[in-house]
């Protein structure tokens, strides 16, 4: 059974700091997705990582995928308050039509 674990589940940090969210998964997959959810809102796709070593960046967020380690990271550089949200990773099972989701990381960035 594929399991996806995110850590930390909750993160409170100051503006201007750097931090990393980790997403570990338990079986082979070569596709991983990161989503953002603002409070009370739906999920927005952030990054699609399609192969080992893939790195995507947008603004202060950078995501990477290491399929051998079964690990993806979402790195936040010089955090700003607008990045406060819950971030989910999801892993593509490949064998069916489903994504397996992490529990989400609630990120609060204090001014």
């Amino acid at each position: 059974e594929l399991k996806v674990e995110q850590n930390p589940l909750f993160l409170s940090m100051q503006e201007g700091k750097n931090y990393t969210i980790y997403c570990n998964y338990s079986t082979t997959s070569d596709r991983l997705y990161w989503y953002r959810q603002d409070p009370g809102k739906s999920l927005e796709s952030l990054f699609v990582l399609l192969s080992n070593g893939a790195v995507k960046q947008e603004g202060r967020l950078m995501a990477s995928l290491d399929t051998k380690a079964r690990l993806s990271t979402l790195h936040i550089t010089a955090a700003v308050h607008d990045l406060s949200a819950t971030y989910f990773c999801a892993v593509d099972m490949a064998s069916n039509y489903q994504l397996i989701w992490g529990a989400g990381t609630k990120l609060i960035i204090k001014p």
């Binding site: 596709r31 997705y33 009370g40 809102k41 739906s42 999920l43 927005e44 796709s45 699609v48 989910f88 999801a90 593509d92 099972m93 069916n96 039509y97 489903q98 994504l99 989701w101 992490g102 529990a103 989400g104 609630k106």
Partner: protein, 111 residues
């Protein structure tokens, strides 16, 4: 471009009443369609997915059912709501691989 419509946005229903949530996708053919539920402060739970008209797979046995009467229409129903059915319901679509694109969600409160 593809769009997904989900309604209503909010709903307050008494225990024992029926439920019908509707989701439609525009701009694509034969999408995979999904219903997720998110309890307050929690991650995503896949309820149903469909790969074609009339084809529904249930992930969690419960008080809910789903139907797909048309290619781009997905309906979530219940005959009698329970308090535990409260949550944020999200419809999503994908094609080919399961990268999901989400509707705006329905916040259901059962009272």
């Amino acid at each position: 471009s593809q769009t997904i419509h989900q309604w209503p946005a909010t709903l307050v229903q008494p225990v024992g009443s029926p439920l019908s949530l509707e989701c439609t996708v525009e701009g694509t053919s034969n999408p995979n369609l999904y219903w997720y539920r998110q309890a307050a402060g929690r991650g995503l739970q896949l309820l149903f997915y469909s790969v074609g008209i009339g084809q529904i797979s249930s992930e969690v046995p419960q008080n809910l059912s789903a139907s797909r009467p048309q290619d781009r229409q997905f309906i979530l129903s219940s005959k009698k709501l329970l308090l535990s059915d409260s949550g944020f319901y999200l419809c999503a679509w994908s094609v080919l691989r399961p990268e999901a694109f989400f509707g705006q969600g329905t916040r259901l409160t059962v009272v």
